[in-house]
């Protein structure tokens, strides 16, 4: 009888351990899933930004240059995006901050989009290096600067 009770006791202790472990695992898995979803949104927002026709370097009907932003477009888009933030761009980027930072030759910053979630608990920044084409800087041909785009999403 005593042995049976001892075995049952051990069994229930192990079962309790199992249940605790399972719930902890579930909690962590849920957090990871949320992080993954945020990561996916960050990735999508970055890709959308990199291929935005408002920013990408283009020349007539020729294929646009990858990883390249046009400085003239950047100057104009900065204003446009602020103006139509809620009406148009919020549907595309939701709660996010998009900035373009030049590191060479100068240190200019363009804040293209800034809509932070009021009570955000998480944020996920993604960086991509881009070249910044300036048609007005060179004498005969455009100059290419060096910089990066930072896309931060909130949840």
């Amino acid at each position: 009888m005593t042995e049976t009770i001892a075995i049952l006791f051990i069994f229930f202790v192990l079962l309790l351990f199992g249940v605790i472990f399972y719930f902890r695992y579930q909690k962590i898995a849920l957090q990871e899933k949320q992080e993954e979803l945020l990561g996916t949104r960050a990735m999508e927002s970055t890709l959308k930004t990199l291929f935005m026709s408002e920013l990408i370097c283009s020349r007539g009907e020729a294929e646009p240059e990858d990883n390249c932003f046009d400085v003239l477009k950047l100057n104009a888009t900065q204003e446009t995006m602020q103006k139509y933030l809620d009406e148009y761009y919020f549907e595309i980027f939701s709660y996010a901050t998009i900035t373009v930072q030049e590191t060479y030759p100068e240190n200019k910053t363009w804040i293209l989009y800034d809509k932070q979630k009021p009570d955000f608990t998480r944020k996920e920044p993604t960086f991509f290096v881009v070249t910044l084409k300036d048609e007005l800087a060179g004498d005969n041909q455009p100059e290419y600067g060096f910089g990066y785009v930072a896309v931060t999403v909130y949840s």
Partner: protein, 191 residues
């Protein structure tokens, strides 16, 4: 005597069942732990590392030297890092004077194209990948003729480095054909 033997047999069976249950529970626990341990790297991390390595290299090769560096009075336009500057360095690496004498972003002095290349790449990577605490390794190698051993055009630029045993992604080869041979540029990125 017989009833005593049956009693012992029953108890033995119960103990075996108990042991089996314990073994099953331990096995389940191990399975959970294995699931935790073998979880693959998040997709975002892999995408970012690969994309970042490629975009950095692509941007770096396209970048042109600014007017302030005062080195392109001889040429038609601003010299491109992944073209004119690398070619000049490959051609005149054994000579003290190169065609382009650009001002380095750190030193502010007119430098040989190889020294400028070294400084410019160090500066660019430090301002981007370095400021995000990424570990990287940049190589620029010259292959003079087919089959010959590659020579380092500049000293490898690195932050902590990305040895082969580390999980790393490469930008892929960015080859540039010069009069001195083929220059292969690669950027490795690891976390």
């Amino acid at each position: 005597m017989i009833s005593n033997l049956l009693k012992n047999d029953n108890r033995g069976q119960m103990e075996v069942i108990g042991l089996v249950i314990i073994v099953i529970l331990i096995a389940l626990g191990m399975l959970f732990m294995a699931t935790f341990a073998l979880q693959s790297e998040p997709q975002k991390k892999i995408f970012t590392r690969k994309g970042l390595a490629y975009s950095t290299m692509s941007a770096l090769m396209k970048t042109t030297v600014s007017k302030d560096s005062a080195c392109y009075s001889l040429s038609q336009g601003a010299p491109k890092i992944g073209g004119d500057v690398i070619e000049d360095c490959a051609k005149y690496r054994d000579v003290d004077i190169s065609i382009y004498q650009c001002m380095g972003p750190y030193s502010g002095k007119a430098l040989h194209s190889c020294a400028f290349l070294q400084e410019m790449i160090t500066y660019s990577l430090d301002k981007t990948l370095g400021s995000w605490n990424k570990h990287y390794e940049f190589h620029s190698q010259l292959i003079p003729f087919q089959g010959e051993k590659p020579i380092d055009l500049i000293e490898p630029v690195m932050s902590e480095g990305c040895p082969k045993w580390k999980e790393r992604d490469s930008s892929g080869l960015f080859p540039i054909n010069t009069e001195a041979g083929l220059v292969e540029n690669t950027l490795y990125l690891c976390d």
